[in-house]
Amino acid sequence: MDNIIKVTVIDRVGIAHELEAPTDMSMNMMEVCKSYELPVEGTCGGMAMCASCHMYIESDTVLPPKSNDEEDMLDEAFFVDDEKSRLGCQLHITPELDNLVVKLAPVGE
């Protein structure tokens, strides 16, 4: 289908969800997860200010570099893996993300 990519989200109990995400709706990975009712809070609404959409990149997809805001937030977040950690809200759904595989990071207290 046009303007649709496939992404895989592995939830916190290890189940892989294959999702379809539109590239023409200005969505990001946090929002895609929420739209499928996966357990992603997105507390701050997508401003890279809460890390509740923290996820690990499990595929070799080439992603845009982290912004300063995202780096700052990941600096204060927990369960961070410097190689794999990203904030879902900062990963905009573009054709380049087709076949992306991510795993949701654990949530703290």
Partner: protein
């Protein structure tokens, strides 16, 4: 005891606009907020960010929206209890609610409107086992009085400005020994804050442990030791009197969750007829509520507040007639 008609919990945009709509019906309001200033997320999290979906404002900064709401409600002289969070609710014998804050301030009102947004902002706690056993027994998430640490051994965790600034302050002749633990080997705080801490570490006045995380807490009644995991050196034990993890704030629904309200997915269930909750006389408006079709938008919060005060009026004055009036016709007459 503070007495009012509508006690609003949360002074974000929805809570503030409630004062205006209530004022048009001659109802007085008082607001409680855990933050030291009004505006909620708009002033605390993103005051300099633009909002584009406030009708008639092509764009407005969140801080500016707060200022304008404060100006708009000024004629109705709302009361504020700021820097305190609502903790308990009791019923007075006359049917009113008594809401008490964490500092013991009591408020009495026949109507409570919860406009709590995401909840109360609390320090983020690192995921360390048994951490809660040592809270206030050596583990503190906020530095209330630096003198408390005089002559003590202190470990601070975090890489932001508050961790850097407090490490510098406490290492400067207050604490006996200060260690700063950070997961990375670089800091993202302000350059001069970073430089000051680096200089202190070079002079041996501060123990810098980077590429490391506190992974365990040990002690009997009080905290005695921290297990610190270093990226390459493995686990090390550090003896300390205090550990202060400084990882910023995150919102929690907080004590309101225990008030007997119907809650689903961290939000309060309401009837969309008047945004009433399952507790008579208690309403929930704005981001804190949920109902089929709910959208967490400021403009929806304004709408909810407007309908809610009509219902609140009928509850407070069951025998009084009330009809919708237009501000353009009648103007706005304050108290």
């Amino acid at each position: 005891m503070i007495e009012t008609d509508i006690l609003i919990i949360g002074a974000g945009p929805t809570g503030l606009f409630t004062v205006f709509e209530a004022g048009l019906l001659k109802l007085k309001c008082h607001l409680i907020d855990s933050l030291p200033q009004a505006g909620g997320q708009c002033s605390e999290i993103y005051p300099k960010k633009p909002i584009y979906d406030i009708p008639a404002y092509p764009d407005i900064l969140a801080g500016e929206l707060t200022d304008k709401l404060m100006e708009q409600i000024a004629p109705f002289k709302p009361g504020f209890t700021l820097g305190e969070s609502a903790v308990t609710v009791d019923k007075h014998e006359d049917g009113s609610f008594i809401v008490t804050t964490n500092r013991g301030t009591k408020h009495k009102a026949p109507i409570v409107a919860i406009a709590g947004g995401l909840g109360v902002f609390e320090p983020r706690k690192p995921p360390v086992e048994n951490l809660s056993n040592f809270e206030d027994k050596g583990v503190e998430y906020i530095i209330k009085d630096p003198e408390f640490y005089r002559g003590k051994d202190v470990v601070i965790s975090g890489g932001g400005d508050s961790a850097l600034d407090w490490a510098y302050f406490l290492a400067n002749g207050v604490a006996n020994k200060v260690s700063l633990v950070h997961r990375r080997n670089s800091f993202r705080g302000h350059l001069d804050s970073v430089q000051k801490v680096m200089d202190m570490a070079d002079n041996g006045k501060l123990n810098l442990i980077t590429e490391a995380e506190v992974v365990g807490v040990k002690g009997e009644d009080n905290l005695k030791e921290l297990v610190i995991k270093h990226k390459t050196q493995g686990e090390i034990l550090v003896t300390t009197d205090h550990w202060i993890p400084l990882f910023g704030l995150s919102p929690k629904l907080g004590p309101i969750a225990d008030w007997g309200l119907n809650i689903s997915k961290n939000s309060i269930e309401v009837d969309t007829f008047d945004y009433s909750t399952n507790i008579e006389g208690m309403y929930a408006i704005g981001d804190v509520n949920t109902y089929p079709g709910k959208l967490k938008l400021i403009l929806c919060g304004f709408h909810e507040a407007t309908l809610m005060v009509q219902s609140a009026f009928a509850r407070i004055h069951p025998d009084k007639k009330n009809v919708l009036k237009y501000t353009t016709v009648n103007g706005v007459s304050g108290f």
